[in-house]
Symmetry: C2
DNA sequence: CTTTCATTTCAATGATTCTTGAATTATATA
DNA sequence: TATATAATTCAAGAATCATTGAAATGAAAG
């Protein structure tokens, strides 16, 4: 994961609708959710949802898979972890205060 | 730390110049750096640097202190940790894969 | 009190991003 | 093949963000 990928991920995460989408997909778990169901859950129009899901996918935060005529979206936890690790290790040089915030 | 603060922090971090500034301030450590020195180190004009430092400060990622006629900026590791914890705990429900990426 | 230096603010411009609704694509079913 | 459904793409306009250089502020020194 390089800097421009991380910047793209931060940009994707800096939007309320997309953060709502992320939460929905986290809740949905490994089965994922249909694009239309995400739109309904979040209260967004199909085209708006498609735009936001594309943004999240381009940033690697979600993945998509076609299932007949619908699209299943899933959260990519590894990508989120990679972004966090970049911020902690690369930007903050493993700072202990930051580290502690994420400790279990 | 609430959602809109986290969104503001992500927006502040989704910019190459500001990520460079962050790295500079991390390297500078607790002493911090003068605004002008950050500008020189990053190769940005004073007004541009002031804009970016204000953005980072508004997001809580850096703090500022006046020292006679100069400004000292310091990274706020706690705020960065708070953002990461929000992403891990609130958005990702403490997901183990994400957790592992930040483990020491 | 004036000058100088460091930084911030302001105004203008260009570039991105967000939103909406209509049109299009892809897939399944009658 | 025609029709219906799910999702995406497109075009237009509004809003936000980034950059530049000039002007203003705050603080020290002569």
């Amino acid at each position: 994961m390089n800097e421009s990928q991380v910047i793209e991920a931060f940009a994707a995460l800096s939007n309320q609708t997309r953060l709502q989408v992320l939460r929905q997909l986290v809740e949905a778990g490994p089965d994922g959710m249909l694009a239309g169901d995400v739109a309904t859950a979040v209260g967004a129009s199909p085209s708006r949802m498609s735009f936001h899901l594309s943004t999240l996918q381009a940033a690697g935060i979600v993945t998509s898979e076609r299932q007949s005529r619908q699209m299943i979206y899933r959260v990519n936890f590894q990508a989120i972890g990679d972004v966090m690790r970049f911020l902690l290790q690369d930007c903050c040089k493993g700072n202990a205060t930051v580290q502690r915030c994420c400790a279990p």
